[in-house]
């Protein structure tokens, strides 16, 4: 029962409205504890080998992370996402986790669950993360899982970890990456996901994979081969056409309009950011253009938020193709084109990504927003089209 009297009021953390009036400098923070991973997934945009000693040596130390976290708490941060790579690979994970919780900050953990063990379970039982742990599951059989993870034994380890979470009532949800190698598992995955007590919604999938964030392009051909084509991806999303249409109507009512030449339109970096494994503070996980990185080993979160990010976020497009197409395109809300994606695909912040453009146009045609041969940036009556679509049955 909620505790409410003249001295104190109870607030659901998820509904905490303090921020609407008080506006702390930092709301939430993503930290990539390491880029190393014990999986070697076909599609992954960031992972390095588990035993990459050069990467390990460059990673932020425990003390450096604690200093950053202390500052995050002082700036008002209430939630930290720990991701990687595989964050549980760090031997100081438990120490950092407890440190964060004792700062009064919730932890959102992204993991493949292969390293969940009895010690971590004990820690999570005593000090719950405060957010649902998110486990990515790459297949429902050893054959399919390890065709994606490309490391023997990882299927058994992942399901051992998941079983430990279940048996000990540690709240978590599952999600998946959809590749040709595990596509046959969808019915089994979804049926199993339904049995997990904390899965209140169907599982999420990634399928339009990003290319390598570090632009170490040896692997990009591989990623491009396994990521969904626009046709396949949209067919998958449209498995439940009515729900999809409703979602899109709600989404388009809010977010669809031409963005103009302003590149950052998503809210990234205003009260949030990502710290990479080496102490670079960036406005989001994808944007790793050197000109957009702030070195926390030489500065502070506050300085980055107050003095550095505003310049990054003020960037305007100069690419003439972008200005002729993306800047005038009313499908902005349906399209994942952003500086981060432009960086991973082209090494710039403002080059149009044709893969994303194709996906957005395919969706718009299916939803009746565009005719077969129209391009969205050429449409003048876009607002009426959106209004008609949003009002349609």
């Amino acid at each position: 029962m909620a505790f409410e009297n003249k001295y104190v009021r109870t607030v659901k953390a998820a509904d905490f409205k303090l921020w609407e009036k008080a506006q702390p400098r930092l709301l939430n923070l993503d930290i990539e504890l390491t880029e190393r991973c014990n999986n070697n997934c076909l599609h992954c945009c960031i992972n390095l080998p588990e035993n990459d000693e050069s990467a390990r040596q460059r990673e932020l130390t425990t003390d450096e992370l604690k200093k950053i976290l202390r500052e995050a708490a002082s700036l008002g941060c209430l939630s930290v996402r720990l991701t990687g790579g595989e964050p549980l690979l760090r031997p100081d994970f438990a120490e950092l986790y407890l440190f964060i919780r004792k700062l009064g900050i919730k932890v959102l953990l992204f993991t493949n669950a292969t390293l969940i063990n009895a010690d971590l379970i004990q820690l999570f039982r005593k000090y719950p993360p405060g957010e649902l742990i998110e486990v990515t599951v790459y297949g429902m059989t050893q054959r399919t899982y390890e065709a994606v993870s490309r490391v023997k034994g990882t299927f058994a380890k992942a399901f051992r970890g998941i079983t430990l979470l279940l048996e000990n009532n540690i709240p978590f949800v599952v999600k998946s990456a959809l590749l040709p190698q595990n596509r046959e598992d969808i019915p089994a995955f979804e049926a199993w996901a339904k049995s997990i007590p904390w899965m209140t919604k169907p599982p999420r999938y990634s399928m339009f994979f990003d290319l390598r964030n570090r632009r170490d392009s040896d692997k990009n051909d591989l990623i491009a081969r396994v990521r969904a084509t626009p046709d396949d991806g949209i067919d998958f999303i449209m498995r439940n056409p009515e729900a999809y249409r409703k979602d899109m109507q709600a989404f388009c009512a809010k977010f669809t309009s031409p963005p103009g030449d302003k590149l950052f339109t998503c809210g990234a970096g205003k009260k949030s950011g990502t710290i990479d494994a080496y102490g670079n503070f960036q406005v989001c996980m994808l944007v790793r253009h050197p000109a957009t990185l702030y070195d926390l080993r030489r500065g502070s979160l506050q300085d980055a938020l107050d003095n550095f990010f505003p310049h990054v976020l003020a960037a305007k497009a100069k690419n003439s193709d972008y200005l002729q197409k993306c800047a005038k395109c009313f499908l902005k809300g349906l399209c994942e084109q952003c500086p981060g994606k432009a960086w991973t695909e082209h090494g710039t912040l403002d080059t149009p990504v044709s893969y994303l453009c194709d996906i957005a146009h395919k969706q718009a045609r299916l939803l009746g927003l565009l005719d077969e041969h129209e391009w969205a940036w050429q449409v003048e009556d876009w607002r009426q089209r959106i209004d008609r679509f949003v009002a349609s049955e």
Partner: protein, 100 residues
Amino acid sequence: MEQGISLNDVLSISEDVVAREVEREFLIIPIASGVGDMEDELYSLNECGKAIWDKLDGVKSLAQIKSDLAEEYDAPPEEIETDVLNFTSELLKRKILVRI
């Protein structure tokens, strides 16, 4: 009162909660299982609650705290006593405070 709390009791703040002041809002955040009501709930103290909270040092009895507050605030001692006992008994029940 809840759990038979009295002015002779000495209470301290549990190690399983974190108190944070964020943009002038004073929050108590339970971080361990079984503390507070629900895992995802925070508690926000008003000025009166905060004044009592600040005195809970694990050394002073509630009687001493009442007396300190009576010197600092222009309020009838009996009202302060009621406030101190009501506030601390609720937090004790939720394991946010512990008896020494």
